[in-house]
């Protein structure tokens, strides 16, 4: 098929840039481990019915759990229209690495912390995992960013990093 000389150059340049971009992206994912939120290997957790999530580990004990030196597991359950833990204020030491484990008991929710890369979906029947290190102290807003019903805008909580 006939192609104009300048168009050939334009497409060659474009495709080369695309290749560079995808390689950079791939290195980020596979070499540096900059993964989007995901699930731990299947079989690691059994999958209970979503409405029974709160009776099953780890979601029977929502909240912050110390698992190592400056390393924590933060278990959260999204329920229309709130997050558990409900009352316990979540206080995280500054500089600590936090492993989020999130699920939903009913519909699909979001869990986002503005100003950070923490942004994930809470899907009923599934566990979402994401790791983040809170470096800056302060009070962080946690909000639901997936429409979940008529109380959606009231679904939020806070995390304190001190």
């Amino acid at each position: 098929m006939h192609m104009h000389r300048l168009e050939k150059m334009w497409l060659t340049f474009g495709v080369a840039m695309l290749a560079v971009f995808l390689i950079v992206l791939g290195i980020g994912v596979f070499a540096n481990g900059a993964q989007p939120p995901t699930t731990h290997a299947h079989g690691g957790h059994e999958k209970p019915a979503p409405e029974l999530a709160e009776e099953t580990a780890p979601f029977d004990k929502p909240g912050l759990h110390k698992i190592g030196d400056n390393e924590y597991k933060l278990v959260m359950v999204a329920i229309a229209f709130a997050y558990k833990p409900l009352e316990d204020k979540i206080v995280i030491p500054a500089g600590a690495t936090v492993h989020f484990e999130v699920t939903s008991t009913d519909v699909v929710h979001g869990l986002q912390i503005p100003g950070t890369n923490v942004n994930m979906m809470a899907v009923p029947g599934e566990t979402t995992n994401f790791t983040f290190t809170f470096k800056k102290p302060g009070e962080y807003l946690v909000l639901c960013n997936e429409y979940c019903g008529n109380g959606h805008e009231m679904m939020w909580t806070t995390i304190t990093v001190a």
Binding site: H4, E7, G14, L18, L25, T38, D106
Partner: protein
């Protein structure tokens, strides 16, 4: 019959649609704009609520409005307009519609209309406040899903009619290349049919049985995957008809030629191949899909960069060649030769310009880990309004300004021309404010699809409010543009009688022949199927094998 009609049409500028075809086209286009008006009222109210400017009178819910806005604008306005334009393209290039094709088109129109009316009533009754994504396990009224089935089935009936007409033409013209617009219409329909299989599957196999109470639970990940298998190519279903206008109509309007017929066809084929097996890039932030398969689909997503670059090159090459033929010199002197006062050019051209930053934003959204910064924030809403609501919508407005008079046998008068230019400017300005504010506040973290809230007067969220006010201002300006559009359409329907041309670009007489393999649809559909199987089989099997008991249907509104 067809050949004499074709001969008549070759006196291109005097083209008239057969009255019955004109009626069919007009019905689709006017229905589209009717949906646009109702959707725009919902959109205006939403903007004002979110900006804290008004509170809705008791009984109307914000999310109800949001559902109406999304369904009527993103699904109904676009689909009706696209079918109106595609029927016009077919009738213009393949000859008057055959009687049985016309019947299929009206059956399609009737099914879509039953579905739309039923769906709208259910939304207004608060029986289906599930937004236009209707994510499981939210459970709308069964009638809402039945309404959606009607809309999809209607599009299939119409598409079948289109294929019948196309096959008839090819049988009658052995060895000939089909007209470019007809080729592009077929590509668009193939994409649509392959894509809608996903949404049909989740509605028929999962959501409707759930809603009727025949099943108690639904596999949420499967349903999300099927939805986005449809939801991403949906974007290209909106875009390809706009590209039809950019590739074929615009060259004629500016008095130039199509840059390359073969490359235009190749780019459409590539869009069909690379827009379907890539839905995971909408699901990057969720569990249940292994990171490897997410990455595979991210790579496939970015393959559309190739036809996009081809399209950009072709369009600007046409502009430059036309400008230089008119004696314009210098690196960008040809830009001055474009007919900015011609709304048939100006509206789609503004759409093209806005589409450049829109495409750049799309690259951010699909970029695997970078998506975490913007996922489900107002940035995405801003992106959406630059692509569909600007690039596509402005092009559709530009088409409507000649298609409505062409279908009714009237003239687009200079006065209506000017009104169209004003309407385009108002739209662009409104969008600049609204989408600019959405992109900015989205980067700060403000979520999409959320009613007015300051999250307990959280300092950060309070800081987002000025942006929300700008969004409301932009939305109001956009609404003014819709009002201008409606005025213009009413005036167009009463314009003086005459012949308005369907501008149909041609390639240079000495341009090389189009390779035959481009029209081997069996081959392209085969490759699509292979790509879909490659991108989906393993992760999809995983979702089914490792499914828990599933989620119960709920009504949370």
């Amino acid at each position: 019959m067809t050949d004499t009609v074709l001969a008549k049409q070759s006196e291109a500028d005097g083209h008239r649609f057969a009255p019955q075809d004109g009626k069919l086209i007009l019905a689709h286009v006017l229905f589209a704009f009717g949906a646009l008006v109702i959707g725009a009222i919902a959109g205006l109210l939403q903007g004002l609520v979110r900006g804290g400017i008004v509170t809705l009178p008791a009984g109307i819910g914000y999310y109800q409005l949001l559902t109406a806005h999304g369904v009527l604008m993103a699904l109904i306005f676009t689909t009706y307009f696209i079918f109106g334009f595609i029927w016009a393209s077919i009738a213009r290039t393949l000859g008057d519609l055959m009687p049985q094709v016309r019947r299929m088109a009206w059956v399609g129109f009737a099914l879509m209309t039953i579905g739309t009316l039923l769906g709208t009533v259910l939304i207004l009754l608060n029986q289906a406040t599930v937004l236009y994504t209707f994510y499981a396990p939210m459970k709308a009224s069964p009638l809402f899903y039945i309404a959606l089935v009607h809309v999809v089935a209607g599009t299939w009936a119409s598409a079948a009619g289109l294929f019948v007409q196309y096959r008839y033409w090819r049988r009658k013209h052995p060895g000939q290349t089909s007209p470019l617009l007809a080729f592009m219409s077929v590509a668009t329909m193939i994409l649509w049919i392959v894509a809608t299989l996903g949404v049909a599957a989740t509605i028929l196999a999962q959501l409707l049985p759930l809603s009727l109470g025949w099943t108690e639970r639904v596999n949420v990940m499967v349903s999300r995957t099927l939805f986005w298998y449809f939801g991403h190519p949906l974007v290209y279903f909106w875009l390809l008809p706009a590209y039809m206008c950019w590739y074929v109509v615009i060259p004629k309007v500016i008095g130039g030629r199509i840059f390359s017929d073969s490359l235009a066809r190749l780019s459409f084929v590539l869009f069909v191949l690379f827009s379907i097996p890539v839905g995971f890039h909408h699901q990057l932030m969720e569990p249940g899909i292994s990171p490897l398969w997410k990455f595979v689909q991210v790579v496939l997503t970015f393959m559309v960069v190739i036809p996009s670059l081809m399209t950009a090159f072709s369009l600007f090459a046409t502009f430059e060649l036309t400008g230089r033929e008119r004696g314009r010199r210098g690196l960008f002197g040809w830009l001055k030769a474009m007919p900015y006062k011609d709304v048939r050019f100006f509206a789609p051209f503004m759409g093209m310009l806005i589409f450049i930053p829109a495409g750049a934003g799309g690259i951010v959204n699909a970029s695997n880990q970078m998506n975490g910064v913007v996922h489900n924030t107002l940035w995405v809403t801003g992106h959406f309004h630059l692509t569909v609501a600007s690039g596509v919508a402005l092009t559709f407005f530009g088409i409507a300004y000649w298609l409505i008079p062409a279908a009714t046998g009237r003239k687009l008068t200079p006065k209506l021309h000017r009104l169209g230019i004003v309407q385009t400017w108002v739209w662009a300005v409104g969008m600049l404010f609204m989408s600019g504010a959405m992109h900015s506040v989205g980067l700060l973290g403000s979520p999409r699809r959320t009613a007015y809230t300051t999250y307990g007067d959280n300092a950060e969220a309070v800081g987002w409010m000025p942006y929300h006010v700008v969004m409301a201002v932009g939305g109001t300006i956009l609404f003014v543009s819709v009002v201008l559009l409606v005025i213009n359409i009413v005036l167009l329907l009463r314009a003086p009688r005459g012949v308005e041309e369907f501008p149909l670009g041609e390639t240079a007489p000495d341009s090389p022949a189009v390779p035959v393999w481009l029209e081997r649809w069996g081959l392209w559909v085969g490759i699509v199927i292979v790509l879909v199987l490659f991108a989906y089989t393993v992760p999809f099997a995983d979702m089914i094998q490792h499914a828990g008991p599933g989620a119960k249907g709920v009504v949370t509104w």
